[in-house]
Amino acid sequence: MSKDNEILEEFTTKEYEHGWSVNYEADEAPIGLNEDIIKWISAKKEEPQWLLNWRLKAFDTFKKMTEPEWANVHYPKIDLQKLRYYSAPKQGKKPKTLDEVDPELLQIYERLGINLNEQKRLQGIAVDAVLDSVSVATTFKETLSKLGIVFCSFSEAVKEHPELVKKYLGSVVPITDNYYAALNSAVFSDGSFCYIPKGVRCPMELSTYFRINAANTGQFERTLIVAEDESYVSYLEGCTAPQRDENQLHAAVVEIYAATNAEVKYSTVQNWFPGDKNGKGGIYNFVTKRGLCAGDHSKISWTQVETGSAVTWKYPSCVLKGDYSVGEFYSVAVTNNYQQADTGTKMIHIGKNTKSRIVSKGISAGKSQNSYRGQVQVMKRAHNSRNFSQCDSLLMGDRCGAHTFPYIDINNPTAKVEHEATTSKIGEDQIFYCNQRGIDTEDAVALIVNGYAKEVLNQLPMEFAVEAQKLLALTLEGSVG
């Protein structure tokens, strides 16, 4: 074994930082998936009949579908009948304010570095904290509501703003969209809801922090963001999970609706447990994220830093329906050890003069497989639409793989589509150069990788960018090739 590989081995023994779990008394659904379970969840959440009907319809659709197998990922089949679809901390009465939330639950978030105490938090970020199947707290609700902004858990939105939920739920990702989206529509338990009224620029970053705690439980949450005409919001999402030997399923749906001149920026730092160095355990992250630029001149921008999960299957997409609408996708996906990621985006140009930009930076280390899969589709009516795609892959060591699967489908002769791709290896020369200036190898890798991913990291809100930089360094610590 070469020296490089030795360093690589050493590096991959790095422990996952958020691998702990806590015991709390839980309110759980029985294990298994059937209509009764769906009714059980719906009843538990005291949902209106229309929503239960919607779930059941989704379940009917789901039963007719099969698991997608086209992605470049390999894992043993998940037995959906062996999962639990609802697990929530017992809280007695639903807390009305933050003060009423069980302090033990707040402590979980504190340990993750997320302080839910509004006074102690940095100004500028409101958080919805989702633990397993439910939202346990949402901060700054009142501050935001003065502006007419609704930011709350999904369950609360169903109760308090049923007309909005009914109007937009499934409007961007229909229940028939795909296997996991249909499953999510049938069994989703909670998530975040956000509504920005016309002409309002949301004064703070909104964020959801997802935490899986319970064992053998899938997390199926839904996020719905609606930005009315001339509004703006920047939304952040973070996630972690305990270290467990068995795999856990996370199948979320995120829907974004942007009306005329609205702009939505959605940033994710995904740090689900990736499995141990031998590939045991870890989260299966099968997520459907889509934004609809419904109005003219609207803009949706996805930025993701993907470092976790054993298997990632995720394609945040933009449907550019409004004329002059803009879709952006900035991604850094890091895989190490035995992680597999098949991620990318879809840009569907429907309106005239629509523009999309894709910047994808893959980093593979260890024995991992990292695939970019992207689709650019230009419809007949989309005159003068433009796309620019750049897909770079960085390899560390010689046992990992990087793959690029671009699909381009052009139905309008005035469209301009550009695609650039590069593959490079972190050079021993680069590392030696850093070493020779007194920088140790781990810091050198962090420096080089952050430089490589800079274009994407620059898109993240400041506070998040720093965290993402640290996370990149941590994920790749010791993996030198």
Binding site: K3, F432, Y433, N435, Q436, R437, L447, I448, G451
Partner: protein, 253 residues
């Protein structure tokens, strides 16, 4: 300061250095000259700790320590600096950010407090004058798209920032026009002190007009075959390397 005894090194089984002996004292400038393939750059790389080279015999003592036992970054922190013949590009990382990381890791090793942004920039401004380097260059990604001359100037600028005790300049003159050569040499000369030493590896005598060596050594087939003062360099310039080869050939007979 530096004592090399009977140093043998090989790469992929080919022996390149075949018994080098060299003593360098503080305050001295040594020039290593020799024809292509004689092992000049290998010697520079082995001293800096490049892993592809395997040291098969001999010892290198630097400031009383066994240099060969130290990792490359430890050697750097102890004060060994290599100005690369071909400086690498690191996309997306600004020279400033890179140097700040380096300077602070070296300072930490020397038991000094890390420099804050203001102090670091002040230091940078001061050292920039030495090699007449433009600040714009330093905010760009490290060496990316730099011309040959800019890269070499940046090497000497880094040397100024890191304040090494032993600087090894590996063919720093290659690819430089006469003006750039003067600027770079001027920088090196200003950094010279009675406490540090410089090893200049070069192919041509030209550089030695500007950086005047105390000793000149001729490396041939992995061995130092002739040592002398700066006059030796002039003699080489005039006669080429052939007469040395002949001399050696005769000695062998």
């Amino acid at each position: 300061m530096l004592s090399i005894k009977n140093l043998h090194a090989s790469i992929e089984g080919n022996e390149i250095l075949r018994g080098i002996d060299l003593e360098v004292k503080a305050g001295e400038v040594h020039a290593i000259m020799g024809p292509n393939g004689s092992g000049k750059s290998t010697l520079a790389s082995v001293l800096a700790g490049r892993e592809e080279y395997e040291v098969t015999e001999g010892e290198v003592v630097f400031k009383g320590e066994n240099l060969l036992e130290l990792a490359p970054e430890e050697r750097a922190r102890e004060g060994v600096f290599l100005a690369f013949q071909y400086p690498v590009e690191i996309p997306g990382v600004s020279s400033t950010n890179f140097l700040r990381t380096a300077v602070n890791q070296v300072r930490e090793h020397r038991g000094l407090e890390p420099l804050d942004a203001v102090k670091f920039l002040t230091m940078m401004k001061e050292k920039m004058k030495l090699v007449e380097i433009d600040q714009k260059l330093l905010s760009r990604a490290l060496n990316e798209g730099f011309s040959g001359g800019e890269k070499k100037r940046n090497e000497i600028f880094q040397m100024a920032m890191l304040e090494p005790t032993l600087s090894i300049l590996d063919e720093t003159d290659s690819g430089l026009d006469i003006d750039a050569l003067k600027i770079v040499s001027n920088g090196v000369n200003q950094l010279k002190s009675k406490d540090n030493a410089t090893i200049v590896v070069t192919h041509y005598q030209r550089l030695l007009d500007y950086i005047v060596p105390d000793f000149v050594h001729v490396l041939y087939k992995g061995k130092i075959v002739k040592s002398g003062t700066k006059e030796l360099a002039l003699e080489l310039e005039e006669k080429g390397y052939d007469w040395i080869k002949e001399e050696i050939g005769q000695a062998a007979v």
